[in-house]
């Protein structure tokens, strides 16, 4: 389901305070009509966030959260009152938050994608900012500072979002995608899956370990089948391994391509991944299925020579020189430890 094709028909917002603030959620009692151009803004924000960071999810059978049943209700032919259902969803969010979670606005959006009913649940985090405006005071230029509160600025990314489209009539026929990440992609640990699991009652349709592995395999296939320059192959493989071996808890194939591939290769590489059904948006990283492949790099040469070395050795002590006809010279200096016969 393509989120950019979402057409919004109604929207409601509830104020969810911090858990330890002593306050209770302030729930809207009606869904006011929204200006069409503002609906467009919402639609693009939702679409961008999902396209950049969301992964396919499915509802967990018999989970504790009431949200799956409420989503099923709103996507059915005779939905209950939208305001009441959204209030129930808001209360569930407040219940399952912890003191670590920030205050925000729980927003529920109802619409359709290609005539199929759709529901979007998102948490917009309140941010404090400072507005700086120039002023002339007593004939001199100065700047005025004003603290402001902002929820959905031009550059705001929505990191907690669930997008559900009903393709049939049951819970299983609901196609979902969701994102549950920290604002910073540098964080070591992902935010505890409270938003995804405890609140939405979902889990990733494909285990992150499998998605990570499929990305790795498709990328290696691209490097070996589509890249002819040997030095470029080495460079790309090195970057691939370094990306997957990094401390980051998420990665994005699109970001990987933009950071490490030559400009002329990027579009083709991304199409190659898409053809292999590898998602291009941010993926929670789990290298458990490929960990041993990341310890060393192996170079297989046409006449049978095989070079196996750690990434550090490849990067620091082994010299690769490109020669004519896509061949290369490899040279390194080291003390011979052992030599033996090999079958």
């Amino acid at each position: 389901m393509e989120p950019q094709r979402l057409r919004i028909d109604r929207l409601i917002v509830h104020d969810i305070p911090k858990k330890d603030s002593g306050e209770q959620p302030r729930l809207s009692e009606s869904a006011r009509p929204v200006d069409p151009s503002l609906l467009n803004t919402f639609k693009l924000k939702i679409s961008d966030s999902l396209k950049l960071a969301a992964n396919d999810v499915a509802f967990i059978p018999n989970c504790e959260s009431c949200v799956p049943k409420l989503v099923l209700d709103q996507l059915g032919e005779s939905p209950s009152d939208f305001v009441e259902v959204s209030q129930a969803i808001a209360k569930r969010l407040f219940e399952c938050q912890t003191s670590r979670n920030t205050a925000g606005f729980l927003t529920v959006v109802h619409g359709n994608v290609e005539s199929k009913p759709a529901l979007v649940i998102l948490k917009l985090e309140k941010e404090k900012g400072v507005r700086i405006e120039p002023q002339i005071v007593e004939g001199k230029l100065t700047y005025d500072f004003e603290e402001i509160s902002m929820t959905l600025g031009t550059n705001t990314k929505v990191f907690k979002i669930g997008f559900f489209v009903q393709t049939g009539t049951t819970l299983d026929s609901i196609v979902g995608s969701a994102s549950d990440t920290q604002r910073s992609t540098q964080s070591i640990a992902r935010v505890a899956g409270f938003f995804l699991r405890s609140f939405l009652g979902c889990d990733y349709r494909e285990a992150p370990a499998v998605t990570t592995m499929r990305f790795y395999q498709a990328s290696e296939r691209y490097i070996n089948e589509e890249v002819t320059d040997p030095l470029k192959r080495k460079r790309y493989e090195f970057a691939l391994q370094a990306t997957l071996d990094s401390q980051r808890s998420v990665f994005s194939p699109k970001e990987f391509a933009e950071e490490h591939l030559d400009g002329d290769d990027i579009d083709y590489y991304l199409r190659f991944l898409e053809d292999a059904n590898v998602p291009l948006q941010q993926i929670p990283k789990n290298i458990s299925l490929i960990e041993k492949h990341l310890r060393k790099m192996q170079f297989n040469f046409e006449r049978g020579t095989i070079l196996i070395a750690s990434k550090e050795e490849v990067n620091e002590n082994i010299e690769f020189t490109s020669l004519d006809g896509n061949s290369m010279r490899v040279s390194f200096q080291d003390r011979l430890d052992k030599v033996k016969g090999k079958i």
Binding site: E2, P3, Q4, R5, R7, P36, S37, N40, K43, L44, S47, D48, K51, L52, E114, N155, T185, K254, E255, A257, E258, E259, G263, D264, I266, D267, L270, R271
Partner: protein, 329 residues
């Protein structure tokens, strides 16, 4: 004897209905010309009471013999469009009578030009509208801009004058007619010449884009900025191989056909929202969507050399291919 009072009473009663008929015929023509990508202006109105009464008296015509109570004029930008427009009218309406004024002139004659068709609505267009429309005539005139200019002036100069004009004045007026014919012919000739020039690819690409754009967009035709079009196309054509440029028409036909629904949705939802979407009111937006689909990174790189990415970003989001911020890398 023509009963002018009876004609006045009858037309007073029916004039609002003829107004509605004109609106309906214009709507049908607007949809069809957009669908076929023909650039034109459509205007029309019910005949004014005074004009109708004068025609009845002057030509001794009964009420029912006056065929142009409802009149619509289509003014084509290019002379070459006239055959397509005539075909559109013949396909969408029942044509009762057709008169090509040019065919009525011999080689050494000059005069009023244009194609006039008296039409009735087809049965399929009568459901959901007033039954009164059945069998009612509407005159559709097809003109170029030049012919339209002459039609407006000649009416004042030649047909509304109280006295016949002296020969030398008439000669001057007919020189104007000759000029109008020459104007249309030369515009057509110049257009064909320019389109055939090797360096005129951008104009050809624009023409191919316009064909789809006018069908998909609800924007008025005069909102396009042609200088911006050429500038954008010159930039974007770098993103295509020589082979793709040679088959650009087919490439865009296939792209639009494969993505018709989403393009319609985008133009419907965002075209009226002027805030960040000024590119949506240009035909090159189709080229941008096509490149976003097939070569996004290359597009961003080439684009940012000349225009800010913030201009491209809304279209990228609409297409479901948001642009990554540098801060996200």
């Amino acid at each position: 004897m023509i009963d002018i009072h009876a004609i006045r009473e009858k037309y007073r009663e029916e004039m609002p209905l003829y107004d509605e008929l004109v609106v309906y015929v214009k709507k049908i023509l607007a949809e069809e010309t957009r669908r076929k990508g023909v650039i034109c202006k459509i205007e029309g109105r019910a005949k004014e009471m005074t004009s109708l009464l004068k025609k009845a008296l002057g030509k001794k015509q009964t009420y029912n013999r006056i065929r142009d109570k409802a009149g619509v004029r289509i003014v084509a930008t290019y002379y070459d469009s006239l055959p397509t427009l005539e075909e559109i009218v013949r396909q969408r309406f029942n044509v009762v009578r057709c008169e090509n004024k040019k065919l009525g002139l011999s080689y050494n004659e000059l005069g009023y030009l244009g194609i006039h068709l008296d039409v009735k609505l087809k049965e399929s267009d009568l459901s959901g509208v007033s039954r009164w429309f059945r069998g009612r005539l509407c005159e559709i005139q097809l003109h170029t801009h030049g012919q339209n200019l002459w039609a407006n002036i000649s009416h004042e100069l030649l047909y509304k004058g109280a006295l016949p004009l002296p020969d030398d004045t008439q000669r001057s007026i007919y020189q104007l007619v000759a000029l109008v014919e020459l104007f249309d012919d030369q515009v057509k000739r110049a257009r064909h010449y320019l389109m055939a020039q090797p360096g005129y690819e951008e104009a050809k690409m624009l023409s191919l884009l316009e064909k789809h754009f006018y069908r998909l967009s609800t924007r008025p035709f005069d909102g396009i900025n042609r200088e911006l079009s050429i500038r954008l196309i010159t930039l974007l054509e770098q993103l295509y191989t020589a082979e793709e440029r040679a088959g650009f028409g087919i490439l865009m036909d296939q792209f639009v056909a494969s993505n018709e629904n989403i393009l319609e949705e985008i133009f419907e939802d965002f075209a009226a929202d002027e805030r960040d979407n000024l590119l949506l009111s240009q035909p090159e937006s189709l080229m941008i969507f096509e490149r976003l689909e097939h070569a996004q990174h290359h597009l961003e790189k080439v684009w940012s050399a000349e225009f800010p990415l913030s201009l491209l970003s809304p279209l990228a989001s609409m297409w479901g291919k948001p642009i990554l911020d540098d801060s996200e890398l």
